[in-house]
């Protein structure tokens, strides 16, 4: 019984050129515009989570880490978040930090190597001294650049005694050393610096924030651990982001056929046949899901053909995420249509809800550019889960088995929304 409903809806759609244009051409146009404009964009805003691994555990490395912790724009993590009550996870190592960045737990990790404290600062650009590793995820094009800059700033502002000490070493090496009296004054000055810094920490004043960093005094080697081979980091994001937003519009439009049929009396006639309301809604949901999935296929094939998205190597993950996303948006459309009384109502409500969801859920701007609260609010939207899933597939190259959180949430959203829509649709069943 579902197949005839799909067939009927399909023929109707084929004859509705405006709906076809809205379904396929408009999203591609918008996607292309966004991809072209934002493809190379570099913006800053966020509070960045940084994993820090201090292998050195020296005075200098500890001061550096503390300086980073005092940075208001950074969230420093030295160990994973605790999952079990009372069990403290072990601290990150270089390997687990890299794995965490690959998994998307943080966009940046810093590894302070053994021996860093022996020669932490160089004004000469030494190439053979221990170098801090900055491991980054290229999908966040902002975070690693911010962290790299802040690292130099912190070195300048949070380690004055270390810098002075390093300076005296240079004096010993190149000037022939200090006299005992000079050495005594030098040490007294260093001690004053340390006392002054302690006093500032005691009063809560952040000395690190007072002076701008000049950069380059700490050797940092940056390495992208995710997306190093991707030729256009934002294309897969926008294919998913713009795609999902338009799927929502299309799904609400397709579900709106319910309102047309109710208005013309066709719905009553259909319900007087063997077709029940549940079967009818299920048929329309199946059609919406197929339509939405077709849109995603068109969108990603376009991205592959025009923007060189690596589509062919990710087809299994795409299919899984595509079907789940299409199902969720289909059910969302059914819910909106069941709530509304007229097409005009549906148009207004869907525009409002979908644009809101899309902005919060990351369809218009990446969620990592948003404040924490907004990022969490985004998790209430279909957009966020769908985009996260597609990002895992196309950006992180994760296997299908890693998509279970997104799959479960999207399917769950779909089932719940459909159940609510079915309940509300009782109003059409009989008077």
């Amino acid at each position: 019984m579902i197949v005839p409903i799909i067939r009927t809806a399909l023929v109707s759609l084929r004859r509705d050129r405006a709906a076809l244009a809205l379904s396929f051409i408009l999203p591609i146009t918008f996607f292309s515009i966004f991809a072209l404009i934002f493809g190379g964009r570099r913006d800053t805003v966020p509070k960045i989570t940084v994993i820090v691994v201090d292998e050195d555990q020296s005075h200098a490395s500890q001061k550096l880490v503390k300086g980073l912790e005092r940075e208001g724009s950074l969230v420093i993590r030295t160990r994973p978040a605790s999952n079990n009550k009372g069990v403290q996870p072990t601290e990150y190592t270089a390997a687990t930090a890299e794995a965490a960045v690959k998994a998307g737990d943080a966009p940046v990790a810093l590894v302070v190597p053994h021996g860093f404290g022996e020669n932490p600062i160089s004004f000469r650009g030494d190439q053979d001294r221990p170098t801090i590793q900055l491991l980054n995820d290229n999908s966040d094009m902002v975070a690693w650049q911010m962290v790299a800059g802040l690292l130099q700033k912190v070195a300048m502002t949070s380690m004055p005694d270390v810098m002075a000490e390093q300076g005296s070493k240079y004096a010993d090496q190149f000037v022939g050393g200090f006299t005992p009296e000079q050495r005594k004054r030098m040490n007294a000055g260093l001690e004053q610096l340390r006392q002054h810094e302690k006093a500032e920490i005691g009063t809560g004043e952040n000395a690190a924030g007072k002076e701008p960093g000049r950069g380059g005094i700490i050797a940092v080697k940056t390495r992208a651990v995710v997306g190093e081979n991707k030729n256009n980091p934002m294309v897969s994001f926008y294919a998913a982001a713009i795609g999902v937003m338009f799927l929502l519009f299309t799904a609400s439009g397709a579900a709106g056929s319910l309102l047309d049929e109710a208005d013309s009396g066709t719905l009553e006639r259909v319900l007087s046949s063997r077709v029940t309301m549940t079967t009818l809604l299920a048929g329309k949901l199946a059609f919406s899901t197929l339509l939405a999935f077709s849109q995603l296929v068109v969108m990603f094939v376009w991205a592959w053909a025009v923007f060189k998205l690596d589509f062919l190597d990710h087809i299994p993950g795409f299919v899984v995420m595509g079907v789940c996303t299409a199902f969720a948006v289909g059910a969302f459309g059914m819910l909106l249509a069941s709530i509304c009384r007229t097409r005009a109502q549906l148009g207004a409500l869907s525009t409002l809800v979908i644009l809101s969801m899309s902005s919060v859920g990351g369809s218009m701007f990446p969620r990592f550019l948003m404040p924490d609260a907004m990022q969490k609010a985004g998790l209430l939207t279909i957009n966020a889960w769908a985009i996260d899933g597609f990002t895992r597939v196309f950006w992180r190259d994760e296997p299908v088995s890693h998509l279970w959180p997104q799959v479960l949430v999207l399917l769950g959203i779909g089932v719940v929304l459909f159940a609510i829509a079915r309940k509300i649709a009782q109003r059409w069943e009989s008077a």
Binding site: M1, P4, S12, G265, E268, R269, L271, S273, R274, S430
Partner: protein
């Protein structure tokens, strides 16, 4: 009275309605209607707009849940699977898919009724032939003329060849030629033994098509019988004189009322025992200073019956 959930009658009657009541808020749309439809019978539901005809039809289809009473279709409760299979419904609205062709519409509704394969093809062919739409089968429904869409609307309601067909004012908004073609379709269906409920507010349609007629007003059946029975019961052997007069303003209506007649659309209507009374009536009019424009004598019809029973015109 509660509505029975299971089979409610072993009767083979196509339709049995018992003490049916339906209220919408303060309005009682159906007020304790009891009705039976015989096998192969065409029963007309005649009444003005708002009389409760469509609500009664929708109750039979199961689209309206009654507040009391019950409906049985060939012994099965309304809205049961058996009742749905036995029923065909032609709603007043053009309940079609506008972007599907006539043939595609019929195929869709056929599938919704469980038809497939050769059964579906044969049903579609039969319906196209029945509605004389073979030549326009490939035309989009929205591009068909009003009369054609009406016929397609009817065909979609009987695609599964039901034994009982409910037609809710199928001639609304069609021209006389299309109306005649629709009458022929209904007569063919009736001739093949299909039981039909036909709602209308045109007495000519009820007189032409229906074996029996139920006159509805304010949700009640106020008269039920054949055309002749209804007239006989209301008027016996009496006749009606229709006359138009000219005279001083207000003079015509006052005189007609005084003579026990009714003024309907500037035509005076008098019920008389014998046709010879027409001479006396015209004499009285002349004495009252009225001039006769035209006058005729007729046997009372359904319109007369309705007017007689309710004091209102059928199209009020």
């Amino acid at each position: 009275m509660s509505v029975p959930a299971g089979p409610i009658s072993s009767s083979s009657l196509p339709l049995h309605i018992e003490a049916l009541v339906k209220r919408f808020g303060q309005v009682t749309a159906i007020d304790a209607i009891t009705l039976e439809l015989r096998s192969g019978e065409c029963l007309g539901l005649l009444g003005p707009n708002g009389a409760g005809k469509s609500t009664l039809i929708r109750s039979i289809v199961g689209r309206v849940v009654p507040d009391a009473g019950w409906v049985a279709v060939f012994g099965s409760p309304a809205n049961s699977a058996a009742a749905r299979a036995a029923l065909g419904w032609v709603p007043q609205e053009l309940a079609l898919y506008p972007r599907l062709t006539g043939k595609e519409n019929l195929e869709s509704f056929g599938r919704y009724h469980g038809l497939s394969g050769s059964g579906l093809r044969q049903a579609v062919e039969w319906c196209l032939d029945w509605s004389s739409l073979q030549d326009r089968a490939g035309e989009l429904a929205k591009n068909l003329s009003g009369g054609m869409r009406r016929r397609l609307n009817m065909a979609a309601g009987i695609i599964h060849r039901p034994k009982l067909v409910l037609m809710d004012e199928p001639t609304v908004g069609v021209d006389p030629q299309s109306r005649n073609r629709i009458f022929e379709m209904i007569e063919r269906l009736h001739g093949e033994g299909t039981a039909i409920i036909y709602t209308t507010h045109y007495m000519e349609e009820a007189e032409r098509l229906c074996d029996r007629i139920a006159i509805l007003d304010h949700g009640r059946i106020i008269a039920l019988g054949t055309n002749e029975e209804l007239v006989e019961n209301a008027f016996a052997s009496r006749s009606q004189i229709l006359a138009r007069f000219t005279g001083p303003p207000g003079g015509v209506s006052a005189w007609v009322e005084q003579r026990g007649g009714r003024l309907v659309d500037s035509t005076a209507l008098f019920t008389v025992e014998h046709p010879t009374e027409i001479a006396t009536l015209l004499d009285d009019a002349a004495k009252a200073g009225l001039k006769v424009v035209d006058v005729s004598l007729r046997r009372p019809n359904l319109e007369s019956v309705f007017l007689h029973l309710t004091g209102r015109e059928l199209r009020d």
